[in-house]
């Protein structure tokens, strides 16, 4: 395991670079698929207490639409793609052209939900494969799952294994946004959160050449 107190600025920068490459690749994949420009913000990497992380997504009770997957391999962890529920509906309308989709009347066999699933697969897959290629570490995503519920309840799933070792986590956080092509205004903003398992850091830092020799 890696003691988060001893993470250096170089190591945080390396994680930021990895997040940048991951989200950049995901944004490109989405842009190609939708034939539309996707904006991406500079990723943020920080070490924060679980409660700070939950506050940063709008608080424990804030409803969010989440695409969640577990990452296995050399750099295990948990990954979330988070949207405001109403914006997730717009995103689905945009992808499928079916404007009737809403969280209040969807069922598990809804084709629109499958489309969102697939989008999660593509986004997360391209995010992780870019990091995996860049750092030459093996990262295997699980099949994604979707939930619309309280932010705290959703994120806690990604903190269980980390909690066995710490009350703090490294958060790699990148926002991408899609604008409405006709009105040129912001339509959907989604946030990638990568929460790495403590076992991931040693491997990742070695691979990225920022291992501390102690």
């Amino acid at each position: 395991m890696y003691d988060l107190r001893y993470i250096t600025d170089d190591q945080l920068d390396a994680l930021k670079e990895a997040g940048n490459i991951g989200a950049g690749n995901a944004a490109t994949a989405l842009s190609t698929l939708l034939r539309q420009d996707i904006d991406m913000k500079v990723p943020a990497v920080r070490i924060c207490h679980f409660n700070e992380l939950i506050e940063s997504i709008g608080g424990a009770e804030q409803p969010l639409a989440a695409i969640y997957l577990r990452v296995q391999g050399d750099a295990p962890g948990n990954m979330f793609f988070l949207l405001q529920p109403a914006e997730a509906e717009l995103f689905v309308h945009y992808i499928t052209g079916d404007e009737s989709f809403s969280w209040s009347n969807t069922s598990n066999d809804d084709i629109n939900l499958s489309a969102l699933h697939e989008m999660g697969n593509i986004l997360a897959g391209s995010y992780l494969s870019a990091i995996s290629d860049f750092a030459k570490v093996n990262m295997q995503p699980s099949v994604p799952q979707i939930s619309v519920d309280m932010g705290g309840a959703i994120l806690a799933n990604g903190l269980i294994e980390i909690a066995e070792e710490s009350d703090y986590t490294v958060v790699i956080d990148t926002v991408i946004s899609l604008s409405d092509p006709n009105q040129q205004q912001h339509m959907v903003e989604g946030k990638f959160l990568l929460l790495l398992h403590p076992d991931a850091f040693g491997h990742l830092f070695r691979a990225l050449g920022v291992e501390e020799d102690d």
Binding site: E161, A163, D167
Partner: protein, 164 residues
């Protein structure tokens, strides 16, 4: 109940209050929110536990409020220190959901049911009766404990509010 009178309990956190203060914790998923109270004294303690068992801790200095066993040990000791009487203790709990279904195949990730079991086990050891509970399922919960009525309000995203 005004906002000023409500004490917020964070994740892996615990607090003790007496009337007119009340207790609240938000966004319970697989975590369990447990309240132990003395209705006569109107004193209550709430913990928001993440993990079932402190023997799993890989930390040297661990946060005892994170684990069902140690959080309840401390909660009960603190309630007694504040003048509550063990013979009058009762408990209510909520949470322990399984937010994502694919996790059910992975024993380690069946954390919701394991948290519920660990809390109930600890309450049995202390012989504290469970007055009511709203556990399991697949949705998040916010809970609010009223130290006057000892009602536990359960809020979810999609269902009607309930008081148990």
């Amino acid at each position: 109940m005004t906002e000023a009178e409500i004490m917020h309990v964070g994740i892996a956190d615990a607090k003790i209050v007496a009337f007119p203060q009340h207790l609240r914790t938000a966004g319970l998923g697989s975590c369990v929110g447990v309240v132990v109270y003395d209705k006569q004294k109107k004193i209550a303690g709430m913990a928001h536990v993440m993990l079932p068992d402190s023997s799993l801790a890989k930390q040297t200095q661990m946060n005892r409020n994170k684990y069902a066993d140690t959080a309840l040990d401390d909660l009960i000791a603190n309630l007694l220190r504040h003048g509550a009487r063990k013979s009058r203790f009762k408990a209510k709990l909520a949470g322990g959901a399984q937010m994502f279904s694919f996790l059910s195949s992975d024993e380690k990730m069946r954390i919701g049911p394991r948290n519920i079991e660990a809390v109930e086990q600890k309450l049995r050891e202390y012989r504290i009766p469970i007055e009511s509970k709203d556990v399991g399922g697949s949705n998040g919960r916010t809970i609010e404990f009223n130290t006057d009525t000892c009602g536990l309000k359960i809020k979810t995203v999609s269902k009607e509010e309930a008081i148990i």
